[in-house]
């Protein structure tokens, strides 16, 4: 195994904040998201030679994270564990700043999407990847990506427009 170059470590370090952000769209809670980033970094460092210079390192890392997340989801299903259910609740107008409240409401709505939809939302709406790049990360045809994205957006809109806030 080739030792990952210092250059690659530096590039990964620069990407870290975005990897954590993408992790937060996949996993719903910060500790799970950071665990996912850690797993992905460890995998990336042991397979550094598989990355093709000239291709996007962020996309490569997102793909590793997405795969690790799928592995984790399946492992939990095998173990019979379920994810922490989002409890039904109602949104409030009180407190903090409007922007902070809106951010919480939006994150709650995103958390109610299914795994596939959260991944496209994370890649396209949050990380700003072009459709083609996002489709490559997920290993799906671009038509699949756009229909997933359209469905995710529609669901999000319904959740966010509901007078009771994000509700399943």
């Amino acid at each position: 195994m080739a030792e990952p170059s210092q250059n690659m470590r530096e590039q990964l370090a620069a990407l870290l904040p975005r990897l954590r952000r993408f992790g937060r769209t996949l996993a719903r809670h910060r500790e799970d998201a950071d665990d996912l980033v850690q797993i992905a970094l460890e995998r990336a460092l042991t397979r550094a030679e598989q990355w093709q210079p000239g291709t996007r390192l962020d996309s490569w890392m997102f793909r590793i994270m997405q795969n690790a997340w799928i592995d984790e989801t399946r492992a939990r299903e095998r173990r019979g564990q379920t994810f922490v259910a989002e409890e039904e609740g109602e949104n409030v107008g009180v407190s903090t700043t409007d922007a902070q409240i809106d951010a919480i409401a939006v994150r709650k709505a995103v958390a109610q999407l299914n795994d596939d939809q959260r991944a496209v939302v994370g890649l396209v709406l949050v990380e700003g990847l072009p459709y083609k790049e996002a489709a490559d990360v997920l290993g799906v045809p671009i038509g699949t990506l756009t229909s997933r994205l359209a469905r995710a957006r529609e669901t999000l809109q319904t959740l966010l427009e509901s007078p009771h806030g994000a509700r399943a």
Binding site: E3, Q6, R9, L12, A13, L16, P17, R20, R21, R24, R30, E31, D32, D34, D35, L36, V37, Q38, I39, L41, E42, L45, A75, R76, R79, Q81, V84, A85, E86, E87, G89, E90, N91, V92, V94, S95, T96, T97, Q100, D102, A103, I104, A105, V106, R107, K108, V121, V124, L125, V126, P130, Y131, T146, L149, A150, R153, E154, Q157, L160, G165
Partner: protein
């Protein structure tokens, strides 16, 4: 021509080719309904991006930074699955109370505690250490137990009330000196997170709309199950003594 949701979405995401984009821009010029649909998609994209933007500014956990720090060091504690990571975290969590407070230096915590006592004005301590836990006392305890988020300015403001992932009630509070998150445990308000209050104008009176420090919001984010309670559910919870 009929524009599908997918083409409008592609337009907003900058994915239409030049001729399609020109067509759509022409159509938009005279079509208020189309403009509304496009605007809704734009707003949604911005809201979603904004909702996760704060993650970029969060302090980097050492365990992640350390992985990349040293070219010579192989990862020592390899995480193979999240369950393992979680149990490792749980072990780390079995540390003295101070250490769990987000790495705050003990001196800072001490200063904050003193600040709370002075800000409390009631002569009784606002926070107490009981069996290794920090619990709310005095005016903070009273506010958490009785005050609704809609209350007008008071020395202790209460903002968000919600049910955490363990199924108990939690509430955020702030005084002139500190802000924090407390959750109901064994009939007391156990303080989960405490941070210096954001500086605001207006002296010692706190409004429910006072901005909360990020550390407190993060703690809410990590614990909240579902959404915050609305005014009605908050009142019911209070009237039932915050028992579930």
């Amino acid at each position: 021509m009929n524009w599908t949701d997918e083409s409008l979405m592609a337009f907003v995401d900058g994915e239409l080719d030049a001729p399609q984009r020109a067509d759509l821009e022409r159509a938009l010029a005279g079509d208020a309904v189309l403009q509304t649909r496009v605007a809704a998609l734009r707003v949604q994209r911005q809201r979603v991006a904004a909702a996760f933007a704060a993650v970029l500014d969060e302090p980097m956990p050492d365990r992640l930074a350390d992985l990349l720090a040293n070219a010579a060091s192989a990862p020592s504690a390899t995480v193979t699955n999240l369950a393992e990571a979680r149990s490792a975290r749980a072990q780390r969590g079995a540390m003295p109370g101070w250490a769990q407070w987000g790495g705050m230096a003990a001196s800072v915590v001490l200063g904050v505690l003193l600040g709370v006592q002075f800000a409390g004005r009631g002569g009784d301590a606002s926070l107490a250490v009981r069996e290794g836990r920090v619990v709310a006392g005095g005016p903070i305890e009273r506010a958490l137990s009785t005050q609704l988020a809609s209350a007008s300015a008071s020395p202790v403001a209460v903002q968000l009330s919600f049910v955490d992932r363990a199924g108990t009630y939690c509430r955020t509070f702030s005084t002139a000196a500190v802000a924090g998150l407390a959750c109901r445990r064994d009939g007391e308000w156990a303080v989960q997170t405490l941070a210096a209050a954001e500086a605001t104008k207006g002296g010692a009176m706190r409004q429910a709309s006072s901005p909360l420090p990020r550390a407190v919001l993060d703690a809410v984010d990590q614990r909240i199950a579902g959404d915050a309670l609305d005014a009605e559910r908050e009142r019911q919870a209070r009237d039932q003594g915050w028992r579930r």
